[in-house]
């Protein structure tokens, strides 16, 4: 289908060249990843009860994930990582009696850690278009960021109008995710009552944060229980009755009766403070609701407000109790950065603290002029080929913006 207007020999030649450069890139990435696993085996965190976990990994240039694996010790796992140099390594949040069992029911689920995923791409950051590179779905060529993504895309090489957008996150994106993470931690500490020591925050290795909870009590919760917690944290499903506005049979009619347990804490306090609701005066509250033109309009406003004040976490991730999850200390093939524990979220700099690949120089061919900052060095590459340190070269190759030369 591609190059339909070209003669078949040219078509084959071109395809072969493409395959060759893709293979070269994969092999360069594989080499860098292998080196990392060889030198950094200590950076990989041993999961609690390793023998009850399911492992999985993906390989460069091979579709799908190898799952249902089990390792008795980190030594066993380390050996596989150096031998295979996987593109991505995963470990289940679940504990199983038989982690290698298939189908799923054979594994005998024993429980699963509670985890939260904050993904920068779900935050609709305004800076995103300025560092999102369109990658043509047909021919793979890249072009510079377009500030207006709505505008019609047309590939300069093959004319296709379908593209995927690859984002090279900036510090603003990371700060946005950090803000969400901090909000999540606040909810977990002050509302849910978790101990600070039970909360571990990790940079995901690309553009977000994973929050792992280490609390026995939560391990047995089923997806519905977890979904209930997600609603709480994300501000979904708050009803007016909860803060004392009760519907009457009359259309849009309502009356105020404050809940017996009051508005002193949690979501009720948040909303009461925001809307200046005072438990001593039902009349005042009635006036507030009327300002929004009655029950239905106030309901819509409350829903919007709660969503806005809630944390943007991926509900799928938290409610999935059979998920394999990126392992702390392993590399993310979307960036070549590592999933890294944040000792201090405020000062954590992923472009420094999670950038652990070597400094040896690698020659690459960039598909489009690109700018990035890693390990406190700024790379502004405008020429087609460049020799840059491995950590930066790998980053660009992982993003699909460069190839091994």
């Amino acid at each position: 289908m591609r190059y339909a207007d070209k003669s078949s020999s040219v078509w084959q030649e071109e395809e072969m060249r493409e395959d060759k450069s893709a293979a070269k890139t994969s092999s360069a990435l594989k080499k860098a990843f292998r080196e990392y696993y060889f030198n950094h085996s200590k950076a990989i965190e041993e999961p609690f009860k390793i023998e009850h976990r399911e492992f999985g990994y993906m390989q460069f240039e091979q579709p799908g994930m190898l799952r249902h694996l089990s390792f008795k010790s980190m030594k066993e796992l380390d050996a596989v990582l150096v031998r295979e140099a996987p593109s991505d390594v995963y470990c289940s949040n679940a504990y199983y009696e038989f982690p290698t069992g298939q189908p799923m029911q054979e594994k005998r689920w024993l429980g699963a850690d509670l985890i939260f995923d904050i993904d920068g791409k779900d935050l609709d950051m305004p800076c995103v278009p300025s560092h999102s590179y369109p990658l043509c779905i047909q021919c793979g060529s890249a072009s510079p960021p377009r500030h207006d993504e709505q505008r019609h895309y047309s590939c300069s090489s093959c004319g296709s109008n379908k593209a995927e957008y690859v984002s090279v996150p900036c510090t603003k994106c990371i700060d946005g995710s950090k803000k969400e993470a901090r909000r999540l931690i606040e909810f977990l500490l002050f509302d849910i009552g978790l101990e600070l020591s039970a909360i571990a925050i990790y940079f995901s290795g690309n553009n977000g944060f994973h929050v792992h909870i280490n609390d026995e009590g939560y391990i047995s919760l089923d997806p519905q229980d977890r979904s209930n917690l997600v609603s709480y944290l994300s501000g979904t499903g708050l009803i007016l009755e909860s803060i004392g506005v009760r519907k009457t049979n009359r259309e849009d009619g309502f009356f105020i009766r404050f809940p017996k347990s009051g508005l002193a804490y949690g979501w009720r306090r948040r909303i009461a403070e925001k809307l200046k609701i005072d438990m001593t005066s039902a009349t005042k509250f009635r006036n507030i609701v009327n300002q929004y033109r009655g029950y239905d309009a106030f309901k819509a406003e409350l829903e919007r407000l709660a969503k806005d004040m809630g944390v943007r976490i991926d509900p799928q991730v938290t409610t999935d109790i059979h998920r394999v999850f990126r392992m702390p200390g392993t590399l993310n093939s979307k960036s070549g950065l590592s999933k890294t524990k944040c000792a201090d979220l405020y000062s954590f700099d992923p472009f420094l603290d999670a950038c652990l690949l070597g400094e040896n120089m690698i020659n690459i061919k960039v598909k489009t002029p690109v700018k990035l900052r890693l390990k406190k060095n700024t790379f502004n590459i405008s020429k087609e080929s460049a020799e840059i340190p491995a950590y930066a070269a790998v980053y660009l190759m992982c993003k699909g913006l460069a190839e091994a030369n």
């Binding site: 298939q102 509302d191 997600v230």
Partner: protein, 347 residues
């Protein structure tokens, strides 16, 4: 028969008065009480036992109708009535009957528990029941700082209330602070209704009946006939319209816009659940920007349980759909917990 009752969980540390046993006959000591009193099967054919058997049958009938049997007599009578009602339900042998009975028994106990919990501050009695909740259901209850309410740990709350369908029970609609959910006495006891009913349900299921005295057998047969016809009726759809979440997903598809993965799963599982043919479902996705018939077919077959693990996927609940921002509820959705219920009502 008394032997049959020794299954009750051991609550050796809790000593209860006979009047408490009348309210909570499912606690082990009810069985113990009967054993101590030397009660035997043969006594049930005695004429003066007719009163008890009639009471037991009445209790079963009322409770299977979804109401609570709220009579409370002398505890000897109450305990015996309870035990015989268990025997009747067991010999009726219809699961739905047992389920309804167990649920109503749980609600009956709930009523008494609530009253007793309310007395918490009047005397020491309340703390006895707090101990029951902790021993039997591992639910620890703390009295709130101002003595007006009770507190349960967030995780204990989640594990129970997440399965209630009313919006008011969602954690977000509760007073939550520093790891605790604040509840009044009714709400606290409501949390364990399901566990109580499961306890009763499981215990009856595990019972083995000896040959029954004629007096009980004929009562049980009479009730079985009555319930049989009732549970043969089926729920049938009365409307063919789709719920708004499905309608929305179909509209998005029709426009050829991208529909998130979770919405595609919702749409496909819904169509499978209402019995749409596979081919028709596959082509509902044909306008999707990334439509590939082969892949879509595989995925729909997977959801239908024809591929992979052979697990048939159910339609996601309204709760889940809401969390994923795929819900566009209208007034008609008010009491639903799953989109497949839309437009259906009981005959």
């Amino acid at each position: 028969m008394v032997e049959e009752l020794s299954y009750y969980q051991d609550l050796a540390s809790i000593r209860m008065a006979g009047s408490d046993l009348a309210k909570y006959p499912f606690l082990n000591e009810a069985g113990e009480y009967l054993r101590e009193s030397g009660f035997g099967w043969e006594e049930l054919d005695r004429p003066d036992m007719k009163y008890i058997i009639d009471r037991a049958a009445e209790r079963v009938e009322i409770e299977v109708d979804g109401k609570i049997y709220d009579k409370l007599e002398r505890y000897e009578i109450e305990i015996l009535t309870f035990v015989i009602s268990l025997v009747i339900v067991k010999s009726i042998g219809i699961d739905q009957v047992l389920k309804k009975f167990a649920l109503a028994e749980a609600r009956r106990a709930e009523k008494f528990l609530t009253e007793d919990l309310r007395k918490q501050n009047e005397n020491k009695k309340g703390s006895l029941f707090m101990k029951i909740l902790e021993d039997l259901f591992k639910l620890r209850i703390v009295v709130s700082e101002d003595q007006r309410l009770f507190k349960v740990r967030v995780v204990d709350y989640l594990a129970r209330a997440s399965h209630f369908h009313e919006q008011e029970w969602k954690l977000i609609n509760r007073l939550v602070h520093k790891g605790y959910v604040y509840l009044d006495a009714d709400e606290t006891v409501r949390l364990i209704r399901n566990e109580l009913s499961v306890l009763i349900f499981e215990k009856v299921r595990a019972m083995t009946l000896p040959t029954l005295p004629q007096s009980i057998k004929s009562k049980a047969d009479e009730l079985r006939l009555k319930f049989l016809s009732r549970y043969e009726r089926r729920i049938t759809p009365t409307k063919t319209e789709y719920p708004p979440c499905i309608k929305h997903a179909l509209e998005v598809m029709k426009k050829g816009e991208n529909l998130p993965h979770s919405a595609r799963v919702m749409l496909a599982t819904f169509m499978l659940a209402i019995g749409k043919p596979l081919d028709e479902i596959v082509f509902m996705f044909e306008n999707a920007p990334d439509f590939n018939e082969k892949i879509t077919r595989y995925q729909v077959e997977h959801l239908a349980g024809m591929k992979g693990s052979h697990t048939k996927y159910s339609v996601p609940s309204c709760d889940k759909i809401r969390n994923e921002n795929l819900c566009f509820a209208t007034a008609e959705c008010d009491t639903l917990i799953n989109p497949v219920q839309f437009g259906r009502k009981k005959k």
